[in-house]
Amino acid sequence: MRRDVENSLRSFFVELVVYAALVAGYYFLVLHFLGTWLEQLFRNERRVYAFVALALILGQGLVLEVLTRLLLTWIKPHTEDG
C-alpha cells in the first residue's frame, strides 16, 4: 500500500516536471504569436473572435487531456519499482 502511494507520488512529480517544461515552451511559441492576432480580432471582428476563442479553449482542452493521459501512461511504468 505504502509502495503504491510512493509510486503514485513519484509518477505525479515526474509528470509535473515534464508538463511544466512543455507548458513553458507552449507559452513562448504559441501564445506569444497568437496574442497580437487575437487582440486584432477582439477589436475588429468580435463575432469571429467569439468562435475562435471557443475553438481555442476546446482544442486546448482536448490536446492537454491527451498530453496528460499520455504522460501518465508513459511515466508510470518508468517510475514503478518492483
Binding site: I57, L58, G61, L64
Partner: protein
C-alpha cells in the same frame, strides 16, 4: 506578462496556480469553481466584466479534461447530460432575465449577494446533515453485518423515490444511472433550476446542480459529478460565446489558467475512485461555505467578489 485583450498585467504562474487548484476541485466535485476563480481573477486586477466571461471560457477547457477522465471511469450518463442541456440553457436565460429585471431596481447587488449567501449556506447545511446521517447509518449497518459498500447510500433517498413516482409523461429510462423510470419534466426542471442560478448568480452553478442530481433525481454521486462536468462543457460553451460577443472574454488569460487546470482536473477526477459517495458529499461541504464567506466579505466591504 501583459494580456493585451483586457489590458492587465498578471504573473502567468499565479494564473496557472489558480487554475490548478480550481481544476482539482472541478475534477473531484464536478463544479466549475467560479466562486474561487472569480475572486482570484478580480484580486489580480482583471476588470469584473472580463472576470465573468473569462472564467466561463476556462471552465469549458477544464471540464473537457475532467469529463474525459470521468468517461473512462464510467461516470458519465450521456443521455441524462444531453437532456439536461435544454433545461439548463432555458434556465440560464431565465436567470439572466431576472438579473435584467433587478437591474431596474436600486438593490440588485444586495439581492443577488444575499440570495447567493442564503442558497450556499442552505446547500452546505443540508449536505452536512445528510452526509453525517448517511455515514452514521452505514456504520450501524456495517456493525450489524448488512452493509453493501458498492451502493451509493443516501439518508434522504425517499426524496428521489418521490420524484421518480411523478406520473407526468413522457417517462424515460437512465440505465447508466440505475434509474428505471423518471419523468422527462422532472429532469428538465432540475436542469432548469441549476441553469437559473447559473444565469442569476454567475458561474456554472455546479454547487446547486450536483446536489440536485444526487438528492432530487437519485443519481449516484460519482455519476452526478461526471455528468455535471459533461453538461457544463455545453452550457459554459454557450456562455462563452454570448460573453465573447459582448467583449467580456480574454481568451489568453483563459488559455493560461487552463494549462494549470488541465493537470488539476486529471488529479481531481482520479481521486474520486478512492472515495465513496457520502464522503465526496461530505468533502464538498466547505466549498459553498467558502463561496458564502467570500460573498459576505464582498457585501460587507463593498468589494464585489464575483
Amino acid at each position: 506578462m501583459t494580456f493585451p485583450i483586457s489590458g492587465v498585467h498578471i504573473n502567468p504562474i499565479y494564473l496557472i496556480a489558480v487554475g490548478f487548484v480550481v481544476g482539482i476541485l472541478g475534477g473531484f466535485f464536478g463544479v466549475g469553481g467560479s466562486f474561487l476563480a472569480g475572486p482570484a481573477l478580480f484580486v489580480a486586477g482583471v476588470p469584473m466584466n472580463f472576470v465573468v466571461g473569462t472564467d466561463l471560457a476556462h471552465i469549458v477547457g477544464k471540464s473537457i479534461v475532467a469529463a474525459r477522465k470521468h468517461r473512462t471511469l464510467g461516470n458519465i450518463d450521456i443521455k441524462l447530460g444531453l437532456i439536461m442541456v435544454a433545461g439548463t440553457i432555458a434556465g440560464v436565460e431565465a436567470g439572466a432575465q431576472a438579473i435584467q429585471a433587478l437591474k431596474r431596481t436600486a438593490h440588485m447587488d444586495s439581492v443577488v449577494g444575499l440570495s447567493f449567501v442564503v442558497i450556499l449556506l442552505g446547500v452546505s447545511g443540508f449536505m452536512t446533515w445528510e452526509s453525517v446521517k448517511t455515514l452514521r447509518g452505514q456504520r450501524r449497518a456495517r456493525a450489524a453485518g448488512r452493509h453493501s459498500s458498492r451502493r451509493d447510500h443516501s439518508a434522504v433517498a425517499f426524496i428521489a423515490r418521490a420524484v421518480h413516482r411523478i406520473n407526468l409523461p413522457p417517462h424515460i429510462r437512465l440505465p447508466v444511472s440505475g434509474i428505471a423510470r423518471a419523468s422527462l419534466w422532472a429532469i428538465l426542471l432540475v436542469a432548469f433550476i441549476g441553469g437559473f442560478f447559473s444565469g442569476f448568480l454567475g458561474g456554472g452553478a455546479g454547487y446547486i446542480r450536483m446536489p440536485c442530481l444526487v438528492y432530487l433525481l437519485g443519481i449516484p454521486t460519482h455519476i452526478a459529478v461526471g455528468t455535471d462536468l459533461f453538461e457544463i462543457i455545453i452550457s459554459a460553451s454557450y456562455g462563452t460565446i454570448t460573453h465573447a460577443f459582448k467583449g467580456n472574454v480574454d481568451i489568453l488569460i483563459a488559455l493560461v489558467m487552463h494549462t494549470g487546470a488541465a493537470i488539476g482536473a486529471q488529479i481531481g477526477a482520479t481521486l474520486t475512485q478512492y472515495f465513496g459517495g457520502p464522503r465526496i458529499r461530505l468533502a464538498f461541504i466547505p466549498l459553498p461555505l467558502l463561496g458564502a464567506a467570500l460573498m459576505i466579505y464582498g457585501l460587507v466591504t463593498g468589494h464585489p467578489t464575483k
